[in-house]
């Protein structure tokens, strides 16, 4: 069953919107942009990816019914949850949505088990208990059953929230940045659990995150949000590999984004040359031939993972862009290492920690940067 979503909603700072349930505007972080999105969610993981405040949480709240869109349509298969043209707006409790809130929203006055059991009032007490215990067992949190939410660890609390959302067998699952406050090791465990849940249940699952890593490990499909609009969607590899706008680029970890000017074009060679410059220096880069005109200002993006580092000049390769520079910094993140090289402007190259040690890279060392023209993207004007 596919979830289809079409939402238009004006978001304002708290004050006047009467369309939100309960009379108070909830969760709208933005000042004055509007949400205008349309997409489908088939069974499996669909990642909503974007910066904080871009409308992802409001989308989840609209789907669950906590907030009402100004117009649009939300339906699971043929069952309509919301349709502004038909004045249909199903109450929250009838939508069959499992929602894991960003702050978990675990009931502090109830034990973990009571939290997971909450809501299944149509079942007998014994059935409720059985379902809750089965779900807690599956997520390996049976040992927390009698504890209150403040007495369990972050990872356990996350699992309790997940168990609670899944226990009543929802038709769709909404997860709002579930792993943001969790350490790496626990994250991996929960990601594994989510994957097996996905394999078993095959529900439409919307997973909101601003972590590229989570998007890539879980996402069968990524939808990129910016200022309330969808700016890109597709498989993680293509969305993150070929950024369409500067903001998507920045969001998806393309670290090299520069303003440049077209200084040469050769249709027969299939390339254009652009000059990147800043206050300190400049360099020339060959990019694939395009429609831009000579002298035009463009925005150049090169993914940091596409840049090769060498301790001697790379010869006899197809790499058209080769430049010499000096290492200004080596930033070691848990997942990857970024080497910053000054070759006129400062470039960021993403390499493995092992490569750094094998090549013996260090600050102030002279290195060569190299990358193909095809790794160069000229972005849309919208920065």
């Amino acid at each position: 069953m596919t979830l289809s979503v079409r939402i238009k909603k004006a978001l304002r700072t708290s004050g006047s919107r009467a369309s939100a349930r309960g009379g108070e505007e909830r969760g709208a972080a933005a000042q004055g942009f509007s949400l205008d999105v349309e997409f489908d969610v088939p069974p499996g993981f669909t990642i909503l990816f974007g910066a904080s405040g871009s409308g992802k949480t409001t989308t989840l709240k609209s789907i669950s019914g906590i907030v009402s869109p100004d117009s649009g349509r939300i339906a699971i298969g043929d069952e309509v949850l919301f349709d502004s043209s038909e004045q249909k707006d199903l109450p929250i409790r009838k939508r069959g949505v499992g929602y894991v809130f960003q702050d978990l929203a675990l009931f502090p006055h109830l034990t973990a088990r009571a939290n997971v059991e909450f809501g299944m009032t149509r079942l007998s007490r014994a059935d409720r208990r059985r379902k809750a215990e089965a779900m807690m067992e599956a997520l390996r949190i049976s040992h927390t059953a009698a504890r209150k939410p403040r007495e369990v660890s972050g990872g356990e609390a996350q699992r309790v929230a997940l168990a609670r959302a899944l226990a009543h067998q929802p038709r769709i699952l909404l997860l709002d940045e579930p792993l943001s406050a969790i350490d790496e090791a626990t994250k991996r465990g929960i990601i594994a659990d989510l994957k097996s849940i996905n394999r078993e249940l095959r529900l439409p699952i919307i997973y909101v995150t601003h972590s590229r890593q989570e998007a890539v490990s879980l996402g069968e499909r990524v939808i990129v949000y910016e200022q309330g609009r969808v700016v890109a969607s597709g498989e993680p590899i293509s969305v993150f590999g070929t950024p369409v706008t500067a903001s998507v680029a920045r969001l998806t970890g393309v670290e090299n984004i520069f303003s440049a000017k077209v200084i040469g074009k050769s249709e027969e060679a299939g390339i254009m040359t652009v000059e990147v410059s800043d206050a300190e220096g400049s360099c020339r880069v060959d990019v694939p031939f395009g429609n831009e005109s000579l002298g035009e200002r463009v925005t150049l993006a090169v993914p940091s993972g596409d840049i090769l580092l060498a301790t001697e000049e790379p010869r006899s390769t197809s790499l058209r862009n080769r430049m010499r520079g000096t290492i200004t910094a080596i930033d070691d993140d848990l997942n990857r290492t970024i080497v910053r090289v000054n070759a006129g402007v400062i470039w960021s190259a993403s390499v493995t920690r092992q490569a750094v040690s094998e090549l013996g890279l260090s600050r102030n060392q002279e290195v060569w940067l190299a990358f193909k023209t095809h790794s160069c993207y000229l972005l849309d004007r919208s920065a």
């Binding site: 009467a18 309960g22 009379g23 909830r26 409790r93 949505v97 929602y99 009931f107 809501g119």
Partner: protein, 221 residues
């Protein structure tokens, strides 16, 4: 010591308990309405409910006399139902005490309910619960401390009402003379020992209530 007339105290207790019962029900309902719903005239309603807190007691009492008296439709309706007017009766004292205590209850309940995270209520809704269940199983338990404290304060206030009660119920010994009024009466007549007994008891009750309220609402969590 001469024989002590306990009637004013037992009357005050009866009046305060019944008044508090009404005040808790209406006060929590109003507090919830004001905390969770936005509607036209909301702050006007809040102001109207707060009024008894700042009006001079005799002004309040006068308004009540008008509303409950012979010339008002409400007064006549009550007389038709109960057989007598509320003016100069202990039931009138209940109304006066309740009106005086309502603002406290509403304000404190509103704050206690507003302090409950709306995400929790929304989560309860996504799990399939009706609005009533959400209220009883999530909002109330989490607001309970504040509401119980408010009820205690309301009781203390109802116990000690003077000005409005005097105007509406009068000072009829053995019928409508509440403890606060009896103190006034005794002080005027020079029966200081009796006045002291009543003063001491009322002070002790008030102290216990305020102490308990503070303990309930002090830092927990």
């Amino acid at each position: 010591m001469a024989e002590i007339d306990w009637f004013p105290l037992t009357l005050s207790l009866r009046v305060a308990l019944i008044a508090t019962a009404f005040v808790v029900i209406f006060g929590v309902a109003l507090g919830w309405l004001l905390a969770r719903h936005r509607f036209f005239g909301r702050e006007l309603l809040d102001a109207a409910v707060t009024l008894p807190l700042v009006l001079p007691p005799t002004v309040l009492g006068y308004y009540l006399l008008i509303v409950l008296g012979h010339r008002s439709p409400i007064g006549n309706a009550i007389e038709a139902i109960t057989g007598h007017s509320l003016v100069f009766t202990w039931e009138g004292a209940v109304v006066a005490a309740a009106i005086g205590a309502l603002p406290l209850m509403v304000k404190t309940s509103r704050a206690a309910i507003a302090a409950v995270d709306t995400n929790l209520e929304d989560a309860a809704r996504t799990l399939g619960e009706s609005e009533l269940k959400v209220f009883w199983r999530v909002t109330m338990p989490l607001a309970s401390r504040g509401i119980i404290a408010a009820a205690m304060l309301a009781f203390a206030r109802a116990l000690g009402d003077f000005g409005a009660t005097l105007m509406v119920a009068g000072n009829i010994p053995g019928r409508t003379q509440t403890a606060a009024i009896a103190i006034f009466d005794a002080a005027q007549a020079g029966r200081d020992n009796y006045a002291l007994v009543l003063v001491f008891i009322l002070s002790a009750v008030a102290l216990v209530l305020v102490y308990s309220t503070n303990k309930l609402t002090a830092g927990h969590r």
